[in-house]
């Protein structure tokens, strides 16, 4: 089992686009009980990975409650970088 932040990054090596809720759905079975699995901390982990060029913002949406939803995606160069660190 990988540490949570590394599992988040590994998820993006598939090359698929995903928002925070998509990542949480994919990882909930293994990491759902982690305190760092909260919306706020997951958002911050994604934004930090984005500001360091491991994932990139790909699409923006507003949900029915007026909340911003950001979809992230990694290109091949980012995927290669993630794979260098995440076994």
């Amino acid at each position: 089992m990988l540490p949570l932040n590394m599992a988040i990054l590994k998820f993006f090596t598939s090359g698929k686009e995903a928002c925070r809720a998509d990542v949480q759905d994919a990882l909930r079975a293994q990491y759902g009980t982690f305190r760092a699995f909260s919306d706020k901390q997951m958002d911050e982990a994604l934004q930090t990975a984005c500001s360091n060029g491991l994932i990139a913002e790909n699409r923006l949406e507003m949900d029915s409650s007026g909340n911003l939803i950001i979809y992230y995606k990694s290109d091949q160069e980012m995927i290669d970088t993630i794979r260098k660190y995440v076994d």
């Binding site: 089992m1 949570l4 932040n5 590394m6 760092a36 911050e44 930090t48 990975a49 507003m62 290109d75």
Partner: protein
């Protein structure tokens, strides 16, 4: 590949506000790391002037017969070891409270975990020892050389992780460096450039290199490993390597027996009058170093380490408040260079932050 240009205007506005808030938080965290470093410096300094440490430095009591080498080098390493061990305990307790111990164990077996361990050894025992050696051999002229760590971190971030480094950002770093030189200049006396002094300056440059590597590498690692986990790895590594390996090596080098270091370590860890100050210093160190990593991961090495560089002012400031005012020890008042240097540093950080923002928008 990005579809951001087609996003609704309200979504773009919300994203811009979110980015701004993230950026402000990053700068605040990086500044806080420098501020808390001052608290760590003050309590550790006073801890090393209290209780059993008076015997240590007087070579009396348990420290009777200690070599002159040990009084300079082994005791410095011992102080760092006691502080880092206390800080490791704090970090482990805090990680347990916030539910990160599992990820700590899992991270140790990963490549980023191993990178953090190496960064901790380079920035902890290695750089700190180089700094003390530099001070002893060349005097306080090495303070500005050691302050080059932020510039080195920015260069490493640029080449290793392709982080932004514009002309404006370099100007900001240079201004911060000049401010650190001004603050550190107050203790400069009897400058000389003989062979010993040159070796001391080389040692100080190695210290700056070590801290620069740690800031850039540790900061980047925090986008892969949670910073709450990274700090536990950092402080446990630094504490154990300082206490077990460095203190032993220095004991042998000084002609004292290998057991001398462990004997002094045991005495320091069980000394009531001083250990509580090390526990407070350890708490400050834990938060300061984790915010250093976190700030660099949120802002990039250049801005993160530039903001952290305010420790050059906060160190003397906290010493003045804690040791000078609270404990009533003379000699800790801040000279005018300290205050002017702090103002110049603020200007440097503002230029650095604005330039980085501009460079980000242009990218």
């Amino acid at each position: 590949m990005s579809n951001l240009a087609n996003a609704p205007a309200n979504a773009l506005a919300a994203k811009e506000a979110r980015d701004k808030s993230f950026r402000k938080k990053g700068i605040l965290i990086a500044l806080l790391s420098g501020f808390l470093y001052g608290g760590y410096t003050a309590f550790m300094t006073h801890g090393m002037e209290s209780g059993v440490w008076i015997d240590f430095y007087g070579a009396t009591g348990i420290a009777k017969g200690l070599s002159a080498f040990a009084l300079i080098y082994t005791l410095s390493a011992l102080g760092a070891a006691v502080n880092d061990l206390c800080s490791a305990v704090w970090s482990l307790i805090y990680a347990a409270i916030i539910g990160r111990l599992g990820d700590f164990k899992r991270s140790l077996r990963t490549k980023p975990g191993r990178i953090l361990i190496i960064a901790a050894i380079i920035g902890g025992p290695f750089a700190s020892t180089c700094y003390v050696i530099g001070l002893q051999m060349a005097g306080s002229i090495i303070v500005p050389i050691a302050a080059l760590n932020a510039a080195i971190g920015a260069i490493i971030g640029r080449f290793l992780y392709k982080q932004k480094l514009s002309a404006g950002m370099i100007l900001g770093i240079v201004i911060c460096f000049c401010a650190a030189v001004l603050i550190g200049s107050t203790g400069m006396t009897g400058l000389s450039f003989d062979g010993k002094a040159v070796l001391g300056m080389a040692a100080a440059f190695l210290a700056a290199l070590g801290w620069g590597i740690e800031g850039a590498v540790g900061g980047y690692a925090c986008c892969i490993v949670d910073y709450e986990v990274a700090i536990v790895i950092r402080q446990c590594t630094s504490g154990i390597v300082n206490a077990v390996i460095l203190v032993s090596i220095l004991s042998i080098m000084g002609g004292d027996r290998i057991g001398t270091g462990f004997r002094l370590l045991g005495a320091a860890l069980t000394d009531g009058p001083s250990i509580w100050m090390f526990f407070i210093a350890g708490m400050f160190a834990s938060f300061s170093f984790k915010f250093w990593y976190k700030g660099a991961s949120m802002c990039g090495a250049a801005l993160g380490m530039g903001c952290n560089g305010t420790y050059a002012f906060w160190g003397p400031f906290w010493c003045f408040i804690v040791i000078g005012l609270v404990f009533g020890v003379d000699g800790y008042a801040i000279p005018w260079q300290g205050w002017v240097g702090a103002l110049i540093m603020v200007v440097g950080i503002v230029i650095l932050a604005i330039s980085q923002d501009k460079a980000t928008k242009e990218a």
